[in-house]
Amino acid sequence: MIAALLPTGTTPLLVAAIAAGTASLWLLLPQASGAGGRTGSLGGFFGGRTGLVGIVLGLAALAGLALAGRRLGGLGEEAAFQLVALVAIVGGAATVVTRSPVYSAIWFALALAGVAGVLLVLGAQFLGVATIVVYAGAILVMFLFVLMLAQPTGMAPYDRVSNEPLLAAIAGGVLLALLTTSIGRLSADPPACCTIPSRADAMNAAPSAPRADNTVPGVAAAPVAAAVVGAADPDALSADPVARLGRELFGRHLLAVEAAGLLLLVALIGAIAVVSRGEEAGTAERGTR
């Protein structure tokens, strides 16, 4: 069945890379220090042999992923993408496997930087910057703040064990294999629904173009609108993308933006309400102990 699913070309390499990555994750995830003394983690750099093996396997997986990747356009773009993707993936993996939550958070910041880079390479400048600002600047700091508040004594025992690492790693591996395979197959043979109409088709469909305003959002409207602005060409996005994203947001998605703002407000009020009431309960409970 797996063989049937496998497309031609680079896929065996991809599968091998995923397998290696799965094994690496399993090995790197924090385990209880049993008789084997598996203390290896990124926290205690190469402290044990399993950690070393895991890191080697992870590097191999990264290499496999890189090799399985498509040849990109120019040398600069390819190098830049591979660099930021590497940073993102390594940061993400380290976030997951690092035992100390504080280090985890810091690795997560690195992963965020990688993701921001990927977004920039993909031509989403605003999002790249926003990710850094919002996540690294606000959310992550909040996490760290809570960490410091909750675990002033540092790493707790439960940080040193993980829950069903093998099963979780296998599940992740299978999922990743499924996703990458389907991405590959879609890429090789996009179904009709996702085919970008050619410019000529778009011109033929011009009478329906007025429907593509912000009053009629819909699945069908997006390709048509894209066709009208000639967005089938990736370069079309590069012209003044931030301003056009803003126009998109405050044009077609105005209502949703307002709703999102409301959501933020509600979450703020809710958080304050819960934390103030919980403080009373918590102090009362602690007082009885």
Partner: protein, 147 residues
Amino acid sequence: MMFPSLVHDALVVGAVLFVLGLVGILTRRNLIVMFLSAELMLQGISVSLVAWSRYHGDFGGQALVVFVLTVAACEAAVALVFVLQAFSRTGRLDAAAWQELRDAEIPRRIDRELPASDAVSPVWPQLAPAGILPARDETAEPEREHV
């Protein structure tokens, strides 16, 4: 028509991030790390959305990412409040602490012996002595040996 190579690779990167976050959620017991993993999953989604946006040549996917950011911020705020509440009840950030909510006759699932504190003693940076040693408040929180 083939995907552009960049789109393809970006999708793969997004999938990898998503899966990493998923594995983190499934394995880590620290509530904070679990939320970090959730954020990692959201990052994978964001990368995917932007890649599709590039593929379609419009801004729909990017607009969605803006909303993902919004929701992530809300989620972080509310979730951290709940984490704090949970912590104030149990004194731990351990997700497994809540297995005490199970039925009385069901055995503990997570009863593995927790490892003793790591033998690795951290090497703290040594500062050059300058002036007198500040007086320490002995009643304050004990000095952390490890972060």
